[in-house]
């Protein structure tokens, strides 16, 4: 029997295999969060245990310490090719953005830099449509030009699983294998496959992180969920949006859109 999770898994594996076949050099952005860890797990499935491309952390130095510890453990256990990509300081970002968004924009610059350094033609990311209204508009294979900018007004048509795997000259293609997954889907899959995740997702002293950003710009939510089934149950009844604790989304109406247009994840 093939259920909904199986179909999502099969589709993501299909997308990852397409990316590896058609876009080289290729790398995956690994934020160590639940989504990108799920993505990494799917890559292990797609390629029978061996992830054939490097994983990159856009490192601002501001992640929670638990995140860095978790990262080191996983690199060892899963035998990953790991690249640490340090991000430039906030002073180098667009000054017209509100302050928390500027902190996030450091990653955009870090990404641009590492793409240039490695001549990457493809970058795999774990974003989902339901996370954030603007991400809802994305394509699975999304070409970007040299500036990494997202031209949302003129996105190429994408249908019938025929993907635009040709980067524009000097540009790259972003690959989003998790677009069709919802937050609950991800947790159900983590539960089914026993995928390890950073302990911060589980409640401690009545609080847990539902969405994991950097430590200065993420706030926790009230919760008593200490196991994955409890998290799933909480999500099934909640009406809080997932990114409620992410400061960069709420500073101004168009802050997130502007971040994305400039090349954010």
């Amino acid at each position: 029997m093939v259920d909904a999770l199986d179909e999502l898994e099969a589709q993501s594996i299909f997308i990852l295999r397409e990316a590896v076949n058609r876009l080289q050099p290729l790398a995956m952005l690994w934020s160590i969060g639940k989504d990108s860890n799920t993505l990494l797990w799917l890559a292990r499935k797609a390629f029978f245990g061996r992830v054939p491309f490097p994983v990159i952390l856009l490192d601002t130095g501001n992640e929670f310490p638990e995140v860095y510890e978790f990262r080191d453990r996983i690199i060892r256990e899963w035998e990953l090719i790991y690249i640490d990509a340090p991000c430039p300081g906030a002073e180098e970002t667009d000054p017209s953005l509100p302050p928390k968004a500027r902190a996030a924009a450091r990653k955009t610059l870090g990404l641009k830099r590492i793409i240039g350094e490695r001549g990457l033609k493809g970058v795999i990311l774990g974003i989902r449509r339901d996370e954030q209204a603007i991400r809802g508009k994305e394509r699975i294979f999304s070409p970007r030009d040299t500036t990494g900018a997202w031209n949302f007004r003129h996105q190429p048509p994408e249908f019938w699983d025929c993907f635009n795997a040709e980067p524009p000259p000097g540009g790259h293609v972003r690959v989003h294998p998790l677009l069709a997954w919802t937050e609950i889907d991800v947790w159900r899959y983590i539960d089914r496959e026993r995928i390890p995740v950073v302990p911060l997702y589980f409640a401690r002293d009545g609080k847990r992180f539902r969405s994991l950003g950097e430590k200065d710009i993420t706030s926790s939510v009230t919760s008593s969920a200490t196991t994955i089934p409890q998290i799933i149950q909480e999500l099934e009844t909640s009406r809080e949006p997932e990114r409620a604790g992410r400061a960069m989304d709420h500073e101004s109406e168009d802050a997130f859109e502007r971040l994305r247009t400039q090349g954010y994840m």
């Binding site: 093939v2 259920d3 909904a4 999770l5 199986d6 179909e7 898994e9 099969a10 589709q11 594996i13 299909f14 295999r17 397409e18 590896v20 076949n21 292990r44 499935k45 797609a46 390629f47 029978f48 245990g49 061996r50 449509r129 339901d130 209204a133 603007i134 809802g136 508009k137 394509r139 949302f152 007004r153 996105q155 190429p156 048509p157 994408e158 249908f159 019938w160 699983d161 025929c162 635009n164 040709e166 524009p168 069709a180 919802t182 496959e193 009406r239 809080e240 949006p241 409620a244 109406e253 168009d254 859109e257």
Partner: protein, 620 residues
């Protein structure tokens, strides 16, 4: 909830209220995230408008400013009885390409028509496109009844018009409902303003929509995506688009027409299984070392895909540059891609009037029926029966310019022409074996397939090698254009399919020579990998590809028959190297560099290769 969501596309003319409908529905079903309703109130106030439910979806700044949806968005409606993924699609004309991207996944459609304005251009165009995409399930809502004072007469008038229009397309709507999206009439509860209406509410209507029938019961189609080498295993990977397979099944690969059995189903961190179903991404290994590439489709021998060089297709043209006959494009179907030529534009249809246009130029947003021809054989299905291998896209300069639906009527399945190769490659029932022939002649039979540009030196080398080998006592014979074109292939011209046939025949004849114990040398440009691969398959183990390599400049300089001069002058069309491609071998058994080596050195190189490869004791 593990039931897969039903994909519902919401379509209709710009400003007829699609986005408002979805936003309002989310609100009434309590599916908007907490705070969103307040946010919408605040944002709408800031803009000086009454609550704009469409803002829930129109997340883009630009969209909010113009209240126009630019791109497609998906939202999930989780209802007690079912689970629907709503695809909101842009209605504005310029965003047609985005519309197709969104609606292409849909299993059902909700058509929104403004009660005040009635059916407009996009209403017709979207419906026609949905029909083309194979959608048959349509429900219709007549919106903004509040603007016509909830008039029953007006509703009935529009209902009749819509039903009539849909009937012309061969469609019957499941339901036609009156609503007001902005004020919430008849969305989730019956409305006091619509007492004359006795039908279901929109929510009730949506729950009657059916998901697509299971693909597992259809013929097996596994398009090969890639081949991975791991621990001495060759794992073919791909997603099963329809049907089911099991370890031990005999698979037929198209278009190469090879057979092999599934030896194993590879999996990581999953229960080992002997079966796999439509929807699963799999990895398989075969019981024999077959050379199978990305682009091939695996199926069972029964209900295999159609093989053809030429097909009729219905295209919807999305490109900025208009399409005319003669243009060359790239066709992508499943994991295969091939260059194709538009041989003819048979009909162009205006999607507003649905009437044919007296023109052979296809402009953006028009639909056309065309004939496409490809050099390589394509494996395809009728789009109505197996959509995943019957629908394709066309690309030009890296951009998607059209979506196409294949129709195979009128063109013979070429699988019979190519023939089915038995699993056992050695000939049956010959009492004289290859080994006895080899002993008689003192060498093994085989094929030296020379390939290279005109003027590279194929014929010169072939003749010289033949002479040397003959003197040494070999049974050897050269096949080239001169002794083949005027006899065996006298009934062939220079059209693409004739050229394919020309090489196919040479490959088969060479295979017969090899079987007879003779060393057969062929000297044809044979520019296409697909053709050479077929010849290799015919020749089996005894086939050796010899790349006679010289760059185009050198060949043109030599121009022994004056053909390059004439080709450059335009007197000869489709001349390899000038106006037609040459696909160099990727892994030829031998490469002979005539640009930098003397004729004698090249001949020596080939003779040494023959001595090693065709000696009685050697393996091919």
């Amino acid at each position: 909830m593990t039931a897969e969501p039903l994909q519902l596309a919401v379509v209709g003319h710009v400003d007829h209220g699609k986005s408002t409908l979805i936003g309002r529905l989310l609100h009434e079903l309590s599916l908007l995230p907490r705070g969103k309703a307040d946010e919408l109130r605040a944002v709408s106030e800031r803009r000086g408008v009454a609550i704009e439910w469409s803002f829930a979806l129109d997340a883009f700044q630009a969209e909010r400013d113009q209240a126009v949806t630019i791109d497609t968005t998906r939202v999930w409606l989780r209802l007690p009885q079912c689970n629907i993924a709503v695809i909101d699609v842009p209605g504005h004309r310029e965003f047609l390409a985005n519309m197709v991207s969104g609606a292409a996944d849909a299993e059902a459609a909700l058509l929104v028509v403004d009660a005040n304005e009635g059916m407009q251009e996009q209403t017709r165009r979207h419906t026609y496109l949905l029909r083309l995409l194979g959608l048959e399930q349509i429900a219709v809502v007549v919106n903004k009844l509040d603007l016509v004072e909830f008039s029953e007469a007006r509703f009935r008038e529009l209902e009749a018009a819509v039903r009539h229009f849909l009937a012309e397309l061969g469609l019957t709507p499941r339901l036609v409902l009156p609503i007001s999206a902005r004020h919430g009439d008849n969305l989730t509860a019956p409305s006091a303003n619509l007492l004359w209406y006795r039908g279901p509410t929109l929510i009730e209507a949506l729950q009657t929509l059916e998901a697509r029938p299971s693909r597992q019961a259809q013929a097996l189609r596994l398009p090969i995506q890639d081949v991975y080498r791991q621990d001495d295993k060759r794992i073919l990977v791909g997603r099963i688009e329809s049907g089911r397979l099991a370890v031990g099944d005999t698979l037929l690969f198209s278009p190469s027409n090879k057979l092999a059995r599934i030896k194993s189903l590879e999996a990581w961190n999953a229960r080992q299984s002997a079966h796999a179903l439509a929807g699963q991404s799999v990895g398989i290994t075969l019981d024999r070392p077959l050379f199978v590439e990305r682009g091939e489709i695996a199926s069972h021998q029964q209900d295999a895909p159609h093989l053809t060089n030429v097909l009729h297709a219905t295209l919807f043209w999305l490109g900025v540059t208009p399409l005319t006959a003669g243009q060359q494009l790239r066709l992508e179907v499943a994991t295969a891609e091939a260059p194709v030529t538009v041989e003819a534009v048979e009909r162009v249809i205006d999607t507003d009037t649905l009437a044919p246009e007296p023109t052979e130029i296809v402009r953006r947003d028009q639909v056309a029926e065309v004939v496409l021809r490809s050099r390589a054989l394509l494996a395809l299905d009728e789009h109505t029966s197996l959509p995943r291998t019957g629908r394709f896209v066309l690309r030009a300069n890296g951009e998607t310019v059209a979506g196409g639906l294949a129709s195979l009527r009128g063109h013979p399945n070429q699988r019979r022409v190519v023939g089915l190769k038995p699993e056992n490659l050695t000939p049956v029932d010959h009492k004289v074996t290859r080994t006895s022939r080899a002993e008689r002649f003192g060498h093994r039979g085989g094929i030296l397939w020379f390939t290279g540009l005109s003027g590279a030196g194929k014929s010169t080398l072939a003749m010289a090698v033949e002479q040397h080998l003959f003197r040494k006592g070999y049974s050897v014979y050269v096949l080239d254009g001169d002794n083949v074109r005027s006899g065996l292939n006298a009934n062939l011209g220079f059209s693409p399919e004739d050229r394919v046939e020309n090489i196919r025949r040479v490959g088969e004849v060479a295979a017969l020579f090899a079987d007879a114990g003779v060393l057969c040398i062929t000297a044809f440009i044979s520019p296409y990998r697909a053709d050479r691969a077929r010849a290799r398959q015919a020749g089996g183990e005894a086939f050796h590809e010899i790349y006679i390599r010289a760059d185009l400049k050198t060949c043109e300089r030599r121009d022994p028959k004056g053909l390059y001069r004439r080709a450059r002058a335009g007197e000869i069309t489709e001349f390899t190297g000038v106006s037609a491609p040459y696909e160099a071998p990727e892994s030829a058994e031998l490469v002979v560099d005539t640009a930098n080596e003397s004729i004698d050195a090249c001949v020596d190189q080939i003779l040494r290769y023959v001595a090693i490869s065709f000696a009685i004791s050697s393996r091919a």
